[in-house]
Symmetry: C2
Subunit: 518 residues, 2 copies
């Protein structure tokens, strides 16, 4: 097998069956698009008197011309409460369609019925995040083709640029009208934005809306537009929006989190970015959320207001917004129902689609203007490379989310991690998988102390004057080993590539190998 | 010159210099797009730390790479109050750029300074509506190239399909932020939607926002998105939004209008479409507005509610909406400041872009669902063909607006006209210019009486039972001649085509010849 080394030092196959030629990662902003490259959209046609109503998902799939080998996309706004992926895959299996590529923005534990479809050949490829069971199965080689993981921004980039061509987009819609306008703000399963599906609706050949709340025309607001929708299917239930809240989206209260939150807040305060009109985003991890809470307390104490915050929005952000500490909120994903409610009722709370939020190849995404982001990790290494995809046992269990997008763009990127998890050291010599390269990371915060990327001399200078316990990353690595009681043990894997980790620009930053169960 | 006859019987050149090959109109819904046709968009690129701010329009034009022969587009939401077209053309003349095609959604009397640019070779082609002075000059041969007129929907279709390729879109924005997000809801010159520019922003190679109200990021709502904007220019004033209201957008109270409104309302009531949940749109003409008012009174009296109305929105529609007689309002253009205010404060008042509203070549525009539309005309002929572009003296003085789009799609299309204007009969044998073909017109209402298109046997049956004075269209023609005191006199024109009237699907329904001043 011919290989190539990317600029993070990862050895990659030059060609991956089912993925194609590997363009190696060459730096966070080094791959520049051909601005003249033409994005292609089908025009479609609809005239008066035509009806988009279709009785069942199966019928809609047939009318969409479903065939073996097609690519079908989904969104994950309902997270663990989504039922539409399962309904669609069931219909597809009944139709006997094989070798599909599915392109969900993310899959969850609730979609584990899909495992049967990996076995029987219904699904051959997955391009999208895989949380839990499906990632586990993929890691063990149960997906016959290869999985491709992209950041939120990278997914939209790949759709707009034609790397990911979607044949049929199936969009779970908490509210829709007869002509396909849809939103996530109303209905028994209101989930907030329909941001993940926005690009799918624009660029997929056929678009199917699946709703459990059909309202009079026109459904307002128009998150998904009728001009892009082919069929509308009404079902009893698209799932259960109460399950939007999950472990990764709720605050953690324990001594480790509190310490990390305290250090992070001190860093933000003295970073030079903490001033009126700053902007902030926090990932979904419990620690990140704790940081938002303590930063909010600091803002109130110091009389500092943020111009805007972006989410993955939670009740914590909404609370700061309602109290006037954040002037405007922008939301691509609601992590709880308080956020959904605010998006519905607050005019200065903006639903943003993912192109707007994070696509590196448009005329400017929101991430480009972000001051501070607080993110999590499964591992961090001495080159500040961050892993969020695999665990130290080699299993691919998480998606990239907005990690790459925000880390690359924000002026201050803070990674918050416990220094060890059980017997796993978290700051190590070399991460199992590189999700985000060290060049994008400014500060690593653990409960034991903080390491600042040496390239950020300004931050080192500002933070040296404080009582934040600063260490080199190598010192943190040593402490991690000490606390875990053992060093990092590289997981045993086979030669087979089961997952490709793309950088947001479409180059490959790493690959994931099948775990070796022998 | 080789000619070809379209299905309305118009003899057209097969080829028009500066326009190209003429595709003849073959019927309102006969030209079907290739659904697989690919629409092309440039991807663009913007990264952190880059700034979109530019000091002047001239500098923004230079940075956009302005060159001789390019196509520059504008919107007309500010109508007679727009200053941005004039500022841009002034800058372009100072740069010495020649042979431009300008593609405004419409030009008004306030843009008459442009006449100098026709003379000095700055502007060679106009693709867009021309109201008043510029239409007059074009009719007299003062535009060296040809003008192309399209309906609102046809304009977006032509942009999406690549018939009209825009190099630089210049967008007057009542509110914008540093990254190019813009809307028309806030600011000293709030004009309502920015619907006309939406397609321009998506498909133009370069996009320049010109604003007089820069707000903190992000400007909410996002009518024009940062992801499509290259440059932001701040000026003292983009114009005067008080001049949005004009002669064609205010109600007329006179015996003729009142009679026409009464007949029209009776027709709607007995048409079969007047029931709970119906939808309605009215054109900008004074008579149309009078009809809306009387229909509103009828709705109140009969306890009938409309599900939605679309505008060109005026205070009259907003009043019905606020009183609950119309459940939802959708607006592509605000005809007064009451409408702007409502769009800002009423959640069930939707800003719709023109693709959504009227493009015939997408998966379904709003017009397709319209029940009743009330429209005006400059002339109507015995084949029910309607002219809204030229006057009987042959001068091209008005745009098409949404006339074709709504007439083609609505279940009931009512044309309201006085039977004569001064000594001009309005119902005639053959209209000077065909804008909308007779096949799209259901009823013609004059103050003298009403003619129903014979193909609408259902309407004839329903309305025969009422006391509405029904005539054949030929009878109305005769009455028109009698009241005008003379028959229709065909204007003297030369052989030169100065204007192409496209049907919304891109075929040519008619051409306009230069008036013969000899």
């Amino acid at each position: 097998m011919e290989t190539i080394k990317n600029s993070c030092g990862r050895i990659l196959p030059k060609y991956i069956e089912g993925y194609g030629e590997v363009k190696p990662f060459i730096g966070a902003f080094e791959t520049i698009p051909d601005e003249e490259k033409e994005i292609q959209v089908k025009c479609g046609y609809g005239k008066p008197g035509e009806n988009k109503f279709v009785g069942t998902i199966k019928e809609a799939l047939l009318k969409s011309g479903i065939k073996n080998g097609m690519t079908i996309s989904f969104h994950h706004h309902l997270r663990e409460g989504d039922e539409v992926v399962n309904m669609a895959i069931t219909a597809i299996r009944e139709l006997g369609i094989k070798d599909l590529k599915i392109a969900p923005s993310a899959l969850f534990e609730t979609h584990k019925m899909i495992l049967e479809s990996l076995k029987d050949g219904t699904i051959k490829y997955i391009e999208g995040s895989m949380n839990g069971a499906i990632g586990r199965a993929t890691s063990e080689g149960k997906l016959s083709g290869v999985a491709v993981l992209r950041s939120h921004g990278g997914r939209v980039r790949s759709i707009r640029q034609g790397d990911l061509k979607i044949d049929i987009a199936i969009i779970a819609a908490p509210t829709a009208d007869i002509y396909g306008n849809a939103n996530g703000l109303y209905g028994k399963n209101a989930c907030g934005p329909l941001a993940y599906s926005h690009a799918d609706s624009l660029y997929a050949k056929k678009v199917i809306i699946v709703t459990d709340n059909l309202v009079k025309y026109p459904a307002i607001p128009v998150s998904i537009s009728q001009i892009n929708v082919d069929f509308v299917v009404v079902v009893d239930s698209i799932g259960d929006h109460n399950k939007i809240v999950s472990g990764t989206t709720s605050i953690q209260s324990n001594p480790i989190s509190e310490k990390i939150a305290k250090f992070s807040t001190d860093i933000i305060e003295h970073s030079g970015y903490f001033k009126d009109g700053f902007s902030i985003q926090a990932g979904a991890g419990g620690i990140s959320l704790s940081v938002v809470k303590t930063v909010g307390e600091l803002m109130e104490k110091k009389g500092i207001k943020a111009a805007w915050a972006n989410g993955g929005t939670t009740a914590i952000l909404v609370d700061l917004f309602k109290r006037g500490l954040i002037e405007k909120l922008s939301t691509c994903q609601a992590f709880d129902l308080v956020s959904v409610q605010s998006l519905k009722e607050d005019p200065m709370h903006l639903e943003t689609n993912i192109d707007f939020y994070a696509n590196p190849f448009n005329k400017g995404c929101l991430c480009n203007l972000l001051d501070v982001v607080i993110l999590g990790a499964t591992e961090v290494d001495v080159n500040y490379n961050v892993n969020v995809n695999t665990h130290s046992d080699g299993y691919l269990l998480h998606g990239i989310g907005g990690h790459q997008d925000t880390a690359a763009c924000a002026k201050l990127t803070i990674i918050t991690v416990p220094i060890a998890r059980k017997t796993n050291p978290i700051i190590i010599d070399d991460v199992t998988t590189i999700t985000t390269p060290g060049e994008c990371i400014d500060v690593v915060v653990t409960e034991v102390g903080v390491a600042i990327n040496p390239k950020r001399k300004d931050l080192i200078e500002n933070l040296s004057k404080t009582d934040i316990p600063l260490f080199t990353i190598e010192q943190l690595r040593d402490k991690a080993k000490e606390l875990a009681g053992r060093g990092y043990v590289k997981p045993k894997t086979t030669d087979r590539v089961i997952g490709v980790i793309e950088w947001r620009d479409g180059t490959v930053i790493d690959v994931v190998h099948q775990v070796d169960l022998n």
